[in-house]
């Protein structure tokens, strides 16, 4: 589903964020990405999101070579990749419902279809009763769940999460992780960046360890 083929990324500043990274994630797999800050986790995710392009090597997602995607095709590609951010990236000028509906509106779904799917997604994350609230009125954990609802509402085949539990206490983290696990169980390929070692151990999933831009670990937690 996701394949990195000798991928290197060097920024214009000269900093080499990734050096010849090779790995493959199967369809329906759930993988954690870990490493100290600056190890290249974010860069790796940005390459999958096409927020950055590799300096060398190739990235394949769902059989497509991302190097071959023109900038005009990027929006359509991104609709198949859900993203969850540490800082949620919610818009506070609109309701929870409208936040979650955004990807569907962009993809051109009818209002009826949008309403149905948004409620299904909000129901899944347990926030159906807050659809008309402004996200600023919600707690951190709830905001993150809105972010997850927005990421999955379009039924993407790949879900990326960058430190999704970074600001949450362990109990809320567990709830969020449980959500990810449920999505994974219905076949969504999931990649989560996290430096929370306790969490990684508890989840007992495959972990890719990054250090100085290279993969230094591949397997369940060491």
């Amino acid at each position: 589903m996701i394949r990195f083929d000798a991928v290197s990324k060097r920024y214009a500043s000269g900093h080499e964020a990734l050096t010849r990274v090779d790995f493959e994630v199967d369809r329906g797999e759930m993988v954690f990405l870990t490493g100290h800050s600056g190890a290249g986790k974010s860069t790796l995710m940005k390459l999958i999101m096409l927020m950055e392009r590799p300096t060398q090597g190739q990235v394949f997602v769902d059989g497509r070579n991302l190097n071959r995607l023109s900038s005009g095709q990027i929006p359509y590609y991104r609709r198949n990749v859900g993203v969850v951010f540490q800082n949620h990236q919610l818009l506070f000028d609109r309701s929870v419902f409208d936040n979650v509906a955004l990807p569907l509106q962009i993809a051109g779904n009818s209002p009826a279809e949008t309403g149905r799917r948004v409620r299904a997604a909000l129901d899944k994350v347990g926030l159906l009763d807050k659809e008309q609230h402004n996200p600023i009125m919600l707690s951190g954990g709830e905001q993150q769940r809105v972010g997850i609802a927005r990421a999955v509402v379009n039924k993407p085949s790949v879900l990326l999460a960058d430190e999704p539990t970074g600001n949450l206490d362990p109990e809320l983290s567990a709830e969020i992780m449980d959500l990810f696990r449920q999505f994974n169980e219905v076949g969504v390929t999931i990649m989560i960046a996290s430096h929370d070692v306790e969490l990684l151990k508890r989840m007992n999933k495959r972990v890719l360890g990054l250090s100085h831009g290279q993969i230094v670990h591949d397997g369940v937690v060491w």
Partner: protein, 337 residues
């Protein structure tokens, strides 16, 4: 820490089996997509208008700036059109007036008219007898009573000569004038075209000035709208980033700003129209009175429906263009990092 494993083999844990039925990429039918696209256009149009109305003072300032920039050249255009209107009634004086000697009887003048009418360089020729000329003067000048008090008719007979196309060239005109002047019955020949030409020349220059001014002010509208849109883009940076991250195309991101520019333009155009209408209404009375004093039926002409529509649309297009330029310059700089 486990040793480095550069190979790509999976390990320790077997991954769950691939389940293609799980994540079905969402696709909607083409018709639905078109409906949604249209729907997005209308909601975006309404939403951007509501956004403008939510900050009424700020929007009004921009609208007024646009309105003034639109109204100024429009005022000059209207003034010019009205002057031209007056000019039209004088237009046919591109004819030659041949004043006959006094005491030339009507039958001789008529014979001369018939003789000249056969010339190829004369398109038309009419004879105005002294009596008819006096009558016309009485009604046109408003000096009826004074004229009535005259003992005798001071006006000579006049042959009004309309040169044909071949007679209208400067050389042809000169030759014709000489022929007319050499006739024994003729006292004087006047070619009234000179000042009409000057008037036209003046109008052409004025028209160029108005066009140049309009272009300059249109540039001003572009800059004002462009700058306002730039600020709007800056204010909605977060939203733009999120939209781009969840797969919004550039067209989708651009749309609300383009509509905002269109609204600024159309709103400014409408306000300009209101200002013009008020101004014309205010001037129409005095102008009519002035015209009456000169016994003229001249009345101030406004823009008319079609021209008003054109004015508003033109303002709208200019606003749209300003937004387009700003969006093109600033939107590409906002990319998710």
């Amino acid at each position: 820490m486990k040793p480095v494993r550069p190979n790509r083999n999976r390990n320790d844990q077997t991954p769950p089996p691939a389940r293609p039925q799980g994540a079905v990429q969402s696709k909607s039918r083409l018709g639905d997509r078109f409906d949604a696209w249209m729907g997005h256009h209308s909601t975006t149009a309404i939403d951007s208008l509501l956004r403008l109305l939510r900050t009424p003072l700020q929007s009004l300032m921009t609208w007024l700036v646009v309105a003034i920039a639109v109204a100024l050249p429009a005022v000059l255009y209207i003034a010019l059109a009205n002057i031209q209107n007056i000019g039209y009634s004088w237009q046919d004086s591109s004819q030659i007036s041949v004043f006959l000697n006094k005491k030339v009887p009507d039958n001789q003048a008529e014979a001369l008219r018939q003789r000249w009418a056969e010339r190829t360089d004369i398109a038309a020729i009419t004879y105005v007898s002294p009596a008819a000329a006096l009558e016309e003067f009485k009604t046109a000048s408003g000096l009826g009573q004074i004229v009535d008090s005259l003992d005798e008719n001071p006006l000579p007979g006049v042959l009004l000569v309309q040169p044909s196309l071949s007679g209208s060239t400067p050389a042809g005109l000169e030759a014709l004038e000489k022929v007319l002047r050499d006739e024994a019955l003729v006292a004087d020949v006047r070619i009234d075209m000179q000042w009409v030409k000057r008037l036209h020349q003046f109008m052409a220059v004025a028209q160029h000035v108005v066009t140049a001014l309009a272009a300059l002010l249109a540039l001003g509208v572009l800059l004002v709208v462009g700058n306002t849109i730039r600020l709007a883009i800056e204010n909605r940076r977060d939203e733009i980033l999120v939209v781009k991250l969840v797969g919004g195309t550039n067209a989708y991101v651009r749309r609300p700003f383009l509509y905002t520019g269109l609204w600024y333009g159309l709103g400014g155009g409408l306000i300009a129209l209101v200002l013009l209408t008020i101004g014309l209404y205010w001037l129409a009375g005095p102008v009519a009175q002035l015209a009456d004093l000169y016994q003229s039926s001249f009345r101030l002409q406004g823009l008319g429906f079609i021209h008003s529509l054109q004015l508003v649309l033109l303002a709208g297009v200019t606003g749209l263009l300003g937004a387009w330029i700003a969006v093109g310059r600033h939107l590409s700089q906002i990319e998710p990092q």
